[in-house]
Symmetry: C2
């Protein structure tokens, strides 16, 4: 029996031919769960190799952050010799993951000639093959117009569709491995970034709201929709987010602030049932009017102290600097993180996969490879290639 020493996916080998966020995140997540993920890049790197932000060395912090725990080969995939090596690696691994157009040597039917039960995962922009990226999908998906104080569209900064697509790809891959274990058959799996966004719009009820109610969700600043939640300014110029979903969370707010009696007046004042999420949403203006002075009279430190153990659902707004410097959840005190030595960059706090598995723990945080660093090892181990042949490939410009 195989020991799953690197996590539940130990023993799987995945060839990744990718760039940017979604496909690399899929590969990284699989690697973090124990798979051996070998990213193949053109010599000199793919289009994402120099993406900002950069370290002082010129190395991309974007690239190193999205390719942790992988192996790297740089290969002239524009030459037949490079394509032949990549094809052999894919045939041996039996799984390939890409966001590049899967045509020519990379077409599923071509690759399958060398490995009958190949599993291929392909990320597309739109399902018709036309191009799309997170930003051009997001603008059409409805969220930017519903974001912020008015109808001026505001893009999210988080590439949420890329992140979701990466996780769908990883899920599709492991699901296809299960199917292959049962049926012996591989398959071609595609995922369009725009479908990820549109399916999510549907999953969250926005499509039904338009179709059934003729309602188009309007922007409402930092208010929650359908429940009580909003941001409040503190005495020391910070902001916090306050939420109550359950009745217990709602009562906790009254208790901590000492404003229970006033909050109880709001039901009759606004003609709502304050023991429902909808009632509290409807009465949110009055609730905020009552709560604002309390938050404005306390510093963030005072609020933090009072909230501790109270059962109130809240959090401080932090920029990325405050998060990294002040939040213990973003530090080696959190078992999800560890400081790793990232070649070319230095010591950085890096996460593992956020899942905590009692039986087959995920591998600890690991750095990204330097471009091409694993070529000799991978070619020797997987293809049995002698050192001299590796050297010849390098001098012929096939291997970087």
């Amino acid at each position: 029996m195989m020991a799953l020493t690197n996590g539940p996916l130990t023993g799987l080998r995945v060839i990744e031919v990718s760039a940017f966020v979604a496909a690399p995140l899929a590969g990284m997540t699989l690697a973090q769960l124990g798979a051996e993920v070998i990213r193949i890049d053109p010599i000199g790197g793919n289009i994402d190799i120099a993406r900002w932000p950069l370290a002082p060395s010129g190395d991309s912090l974007y690239w190193t952050s999205l390719n942790k725990a992988k192996k790297s080969i740089a290969l002239a995939v524009d030459k037949p010799e490079g394509q032949a090596i990549a094809s052999k690696l894919i045939a041996q691994a039996g799984i390939v993951l890409t966001n590049l157009p899967a045509r020519g040597w990379m077409a599923y039917d071509t690759l399958r000639q060398q490995r009958q039960d190949l599993i291929m995962l392909r990320l597309l922009g739109n399902s018709d093959g036309s191009g799309a990226v997170d930003y051009t999908v997001n603008c059409a998906a409805g969220f930017p117009i519903a974001t912020g104080p008015d109808h001026t569209p505001i893009n999210h900064v988080l590439p949420a569709w890329d992140v979701s697509a990466g996780l769908y790809l990883a899920l599709g891959l492991v699901s296809a491995v299960r199917a292959r274990d049962i049926t012996g058959q591989g398959q071609d799996i595609s995922l369009a970034l725009s479908d990820v966004a549109l399916a999510t719009v549907g999953n969250l009820g926005y499509i039904a709201d338009v179709q059934i109610n003729g309602a188009v969700r309007a922007p409402m600043g930092n208010d929650l929709y359908g429940a009580f939640g909003r941001d409040f300014a503190t005495k020391d110029g910070r902001r916090i987010m306050l939420v109550a979903i359950s009745n217990r969370q709602w009562r906790a707010i009254g208790k901590v602030t000492g404003l229970t009696a006033k909050l109880e007046m709001i039901g009759p004042l606004m003609d709502v049932d304050m023991n429902t999420e909808g009632g509290r949403f409807t009465a949110r203006g009055a609730i905020c009017a009552v709560l604002e002075p309390w938050f404005a009279a306390h510093t963030l430190a005072e609020i933090t102290a009072k909230m501790a153990g109270s059962g109130v659902l809240w959090g401080p707004y932090q920029d990325f600097g405050q998060l990294v410097r002040e939040d213990p959840r973003c530090s080696p005190a959190n078992p999800v993180f560890a400081e790793v030595q990232q070649p070319g960059v230095g010591t950085v706090l890096a996460p593992r996969v956020p899942l905590t598995l009692s039986g087959t723990p995920a591998r600890p945080p690991a750095p990204a490879p330097k471009l091409g660093q694993d070529a000799a090892d991978v070619l020797a181990e997987i293809l049995g290639m002698p050192t001299a042949e590796v050297a010849a490939l390098r001098s012929n410009g096939v291997l970087g």
Copy 2:
């Protein structure tokens, strides 16, 4: 050999005891990939049963959208008899997914006494067990302060951490099934919502940017960071998002707009290399100044016609109404969607899982159950319970 008629996860049975977005989305995704997912709710429904938006019937469009393709049992899980039935179902299924506190009868060690190789997945707020929801995690994760035109925090409307957490849970579950198939061992898997957010902050390079460069990503409206991309107003009062990542995409913009010659003047004007993403990012002000008049002189329809087949990466901003009414990607023309009859709601456009699998196609879009509709069938099939016993449980208030 089992025929995977409902998708790659056919044959898996999952008991879900959940509410809200993340855990229900995980269960729904597994169901859409072929698993039999049975959601157990308290009689009358869990805390999310009446969440807005509502259909005219009072049924929650939120709940029905997040529980598609599942089976439903309503059970008095606050009574020993209800807990005993839930425990037996979990023991038989061998997999349980929850975002409720796993204590008492639902503790892993307790449930495991009835099923040695049980796989349990638990969603937490913070890993220390304290409460957190998408909004209270997001405010701390850095994105709201980096969103929009200035440092005033702007919450995202998409519950991106919930969505990501749901997908991580589904991935963790299928990965644990693979591990169990190999080792024969089950396990307890937990995932903290805040860890999903913080790991993503790290994966996208924001932590490294702070630690290595002392740089805190500042808000920059709808501009992309590190590449060229921004929104433009059209002649007819719409807005579009325009992006160029590759040099080919960049050149396509000049070609479509006829502004190549002017865009070529910007390199020397701004002292940047316009053949790099960083150069175009630095020069974005000048680029936008050149392009704005062109977009302002064309309607959205004219722009759409000119962009077709051009290789330009762009998209229109749409609110949820425009998306549902005007975008063919959000219609039955897209194989990801189909119109389904949702009991209590009516005909709605519903998505399947967005993955397209050639070998083991995912089940087509399916409606959500009515609360408790599958109790008799599930209890008969899984526990072999006679009809009379089901009736007795109903009259005793154990079954809804």
